[in-house]
């Protein structure tokens, strides 16, 4: 049976809070933890499939044009080589998140440097790699390819544009204003597990073990690319070694492995090299942003302008949604927001953790800091003064709003000094020391989700869905929800994820996973409780379940009477998505040091205070926030994709040249979680947290750099050369 809810209004917290197991929200260790720490968790490339051949992708060494010739014969003459495949169905870009259809195909047509054009398959990895490296390919390259985002023709993104009042007049009339341009470099997700797939056909039925975030969409993308029915395809992703957007859509190695396995009639494994992951998965677009803010003498915002330019390949609809939080974070009557997309032939731009806010929020918060300084108001107080009562553009109330609490409690926990602020107030040896802060906001979404929960006759619960766990904690929180609802300790709950044979979940992306699939599990369990209550002659709301015992003296096993029960929970967003504005909020506080001689900046201390509804697991939720703060440090100081201006190829496509934070870059980090219940956010009163931790954090660091040394940076990341150039005398 299916228990269905389309959420049009609030779902009362009291029901879930009234359960007795005492499991939900607790700092329960990950249930898959021992598999991960002992190396027994199986990631995509590691499944024990009989006798796989090994495939290695070959990528283009031109920017745009056609492949005119591939010397198959020479490759096939090399030891161990089984096939050189350049099938027209091979995909040349990853699918965008939630696409649900095949991305660009036809590998003979090249639209960016590093695009996959063929796959070489051999008996061993060493043989395939060698043959791929020596594959002779001829091209016909196009002249005059657009590569420079500043020079290409902008396409306005009308859906993003807002004009209210008169921005220019308000700027001119205001007591204080700032008008600044900020540029951010591109980012890579750089998840630790490279993209990998093992494809295996049994007749017309295909099974692919892969590393993917959203199997519910990926199955349709793969079936479409191959021209087969979804019913003939099974995807398995039980463990995913990080995603951060890079595994939202079906990636090139999945389709290549499936085609090669079909052609050879045996399983084929294709694993991308780290360089290939960098070059042919997603980049976060570089951004060019203009911020125009003005306020009155009391520090109330009167003008709010935010315009951005981002880039992507021709044919891609994705445009880094830089303005996402700017639409609702601060009030101001005169508003002008707009986005331009330019088409250039760099690799595909798509979702990298917190698409939009990760770069839009820091720029906005850097502008807010400058305006607060001009107005002579403490930056925390300045933000508190400008929190709108409802969405300033759409007349929609907020489902809940924790920004003010996060600002106040974060400031207190950090020890924020609200006295007079000016740069270079503190120096220790060669280092200037300063502090800065920023607001955090990330829109909250939910998505359709289904999960099956079975109660076995022995009184164990089994949760099944094709939802994935990227390290986000899905396994554990679903076990907690089921255990809480059914009165079972965590070791009596099994969670089976990442298999399209199970009911369709929402996929992991956009921070909607936990709230959506958690709601589906909640609904399934609620339906199971109704049946148990019927057998116990009581109402569902009155039913007391704890540790396998039923209030009144019976046991769950006894009531089940040798029979298993099963329910599918089906959650769907309804009016709760349209009639309210839902967002997670937070505040970042940072203390940095800047070297007087070298311009090197280090983050000594960082605190994030976040409000995201119900905390489902204190441990895994905190880890999500810690991860976000770590990404904030990377975005602020070191992470930048560099493209060769001559041919648009990514010049730093590996972990030696693209600098993610290392252990020593992350010093004292603290997380404050402001527990609340948001009854409109989801059926379990929880919101997303996977991305909130990096929505603005880099801005807090930039503002701290200014406070330390007086350099107002106009570019992120704040590398030493940029800081030195921005230092006043």
């Amino acid at each position: 049976m299916t228990a269905h809810l389309k959420q049009d209004g609030p779902v009362d917290r009291a029901h879930l809070d009234g359960m007795q197991q005492g499991l939900l929200g607790k700092a329960v260790p990950r249930i898959e933890g021992y598999a991960k720490v002992t190396g027994t968790a199986t990631y995509a490339a590691e499944y024990d499939v009989a006798d796989p051949a090994e495939g290695v992708l070959v990528t283009a060494t031109i920017t745009k044009g056609k492949v005119t010739y591939i010397d198959n014969d020479a490759a096939l003459a090399m030891p161990g080589v089984l096939a050189v495949i350049a099938d027209a169905r091979m995909t040349t870009r990853p699918a965008q998140g939630t696409a649900g259809e095949a991305p660009e195909q036809e590998p003979q047509s090249v639209s960016y440097w590093g695009q996959p054009i063929a796959v070489v398959v051999a008996e061993t990895f060493e043989e395939a790699r060698n043959a791929a490296k020596h594959l002779v390919v001829a091209y016909e390259a196009d002249a005059d390819v657009d590569l420079d985002p500043a020079a290409a023709q902008p396409e306005p993104q009308d859906g993003q544009a807002v004009e209210m009042g008169d921005l220019t007049a308000a700027m001119d009339a205001a007591t204080h204003s700032v008008d600044l341009t900020i540029e951010t470099d591109g980012h890579a997700s750089a998840a630790m597990e490279p993209h990998a797939a093992i494809a295996d056909w049994d007749g017309d039925n295909l099974t692919v073990r892969a590393s993917l975030q959203m199997l519910n969409y990926n199955i349709a993308e793969l079936a479409d690319a191959l021209g087969v029915e979804e019913d003939n395809v099974r995807l398995i992703s039980r463990y995913v070694g990080g995603g951060f957007g890079s595994k939202l859509g079906i990636s090139e190695e999945v389709v290549a492995a499936a085609l090669a396995a079909r052609q050879l009639g045996r399983p084929v494994r294709v694993v991308m090299s780290r360089q290939q992951v960098f070059q042919c998965i997603m980049r976060r677009s570089e951004t060019h942003q203009r911020l125009q803010l003005a306020c009155d003498a009391e520090g109330r915002l009167t003008a709010f302008g935010h315009h951005a330019r981002v880039s992507n390949l021709p044919g891609e609809s994705f445009a880094e949604p830089v303005l996402q939080s700017s639409h609702f974070l601060y009030g101001a009557e005169n508003r002008s927001l707009g986005m331009d997309l330019v088409r250039i032939h760099r690799m595909t731009a798509g979702s990298v953790r917190a698409p939009g806010e990760a770069v839009g929020m820091p720029a906005l918060e850097m502008a807010m800091d400058e305006l607060a300084e001009k107005a002579g108001i403490d930056p925390v107080a300045f933000r508190l003064r400008n929190i709108p009562g409802e969405n300033p553009e759409e007349d929609l109330p907020f489902t809940s709003h924790t920004l003010a609490d996060c600002l106040r409690q974060g400031a207190e926990a950090f020890g924020w000094d609200d006295g007079p602020r000016r740069p270079r107030m503190r120096r220790e040896g060669d280092w200037w020391i300063g502090t800065g802060m920023a607001s955090a906001a990330r829109v909250h979404n939910v998505s359709e989700a289904k999960a099956r929960v079975r109660l076995t006759a022995e009184g164990r619960a089994v949760v099944q869905t094709d939802m994935t766990d990227l390290g986000t904690g899905t396994y554990t929180i679903l076990a907690q929800i089921a255990g809480e609802m059914l009165g079972l300790p965590i070791d009596r709950v099994t969670v089976e994820l990442g298999d399209t044979n199970h009911p369709r979940g929402p996929g992991s992306g956009g921070s909607w996973g936990a709230a959506s699939i958690g709601s589906a599990v909640y609904l399934a369990c609620k339906a199971l409780r109704e049946e148990i209550a019927r057998r116990a002659n009581t109402g569902e709301a009155e039913l007391g379940l704890k540790d396998g015992a039923v209030a009144g003296g019976r046991t769950l096993v006894d009531l089940l009477g040798g029979e298993a029960l099963e329910e599918v929970g089906h959650y769907e967003p309804g009016d709760n998505q349209d009639a309210w504005t839902a967002s997670g909020f937070g505040a970042f506080f940072a203390q940095v040091r800047v070297n007087h001689w070298t311009g090197e900046a280090r983050v000594d201390r960082m605190l994030g205070a976040f409000g995201f509804g119900r905390v489902l697991n204190e441990k895994t939720a905190r880890s999500q926030c810690l991860g976000g703060i770590t990404w904030s440090i990377g975005a602020a100081l070191t992470e930048a994709l560099h493209f060769d201006p001559r041919d648009g190829h990514l010049a730093n496509p590996d972990l030696a040249e693209y600098h993610v934070p290392v252990h020593r870059d992350v010093q004292d980090v603290e997380v404050l979680m402001l527990e609340e219940r948001d009854p409109l956010a989801s059926a379990i009163q929880a919101k997303g947290i996977g991305e909130l931790g990096m929505c603005g954090g880099a801005g807090a660091i930039a503002n701290a750099v200014y406070n330390a040394c007086g350099a107002r940076l106009r570019e992120l990341p704040m590398t030493p050369d940029r800081i030195l150039a921005a230092l006043p005398e």
């Binding site: 720490v37 968790a41 630790m192 986000t472 441990k619 993610v660 252990h663």
Partner: protein
């Protein structure tokens, strides 16, 4: 050729193809997939294993170069039923998220504790002759093991706990 290598106490014949890295030998030939490949270029530390007790990046060396040596991988440090102290502490402190860097982190941390016992200094050591296990010392010595999930603060707490239990 009958040269062998010992992996987690078991003697194994070395591969015929000399191009096989120690990492690919473990993962592809022996099925010991606990050791991870994050970059294949010595940039991430996911492939860290112990060779004769010292940590190395197994992607940066060929299996053929390790005849008669003893390799310990994550599988050799503990099992779900009988985990090592570090493995247990990593679970307790939530010192990982996706878990892909984790075997490398734990192999590194295992060797790190030994390095301190042997008084090897690092860039973060105040006293080069007798380094002590400060937080900064742990951070420095673990900086060759990237964690994109950003679990560093919890990794530090896990290692610190085991170091203190040992002391």
């Amino acid at each position: 050729m009958s040269e062998t290598i010992t992996v987690n106490g078991v003697s194994q014949p070395l591969p015929d193809d000399v191009r096989v890295s120690l990492l690919d030998f473990l993962r592809q030939h022996l099925g010991l997939t606990g050791t991870k490949k994050g970059c294949d270029h010595g940039q991430c530390g996911a492939c860290t294993v112990l060779v004769d007790g010292f940590r190395i990046n197994s992607c940066l060396t060929l299996a053929a170069m390790h005849a008669d040596q003893e390799v310990t991988t994550i599988e050799g440090l503990g099992t779900p039923e009988d985990p090592s102290a570090l493995q247990r502490a990593f679970v307790e402190h939530d010192a990982f998220q996706c878990g892909y860097c984790t075997p490398g982190q734990i192999c590194s941390a295992t060797a790190l504790l030994e390095e301190i016992r042997s008084e090897w200094p690092s860039d973060a050591s105040d006293d080069l002759a007798a380094p002590t296990l400060t937080d900064e010392e742990i951070r420095e010595r673990m900086s060759g093991n990237l964690c994109r999930c950003g679990a560093y603060a919890n990794i530090l707490a896990a290692i610190r706990q085991v170091a203190e239990e040992d002391a």
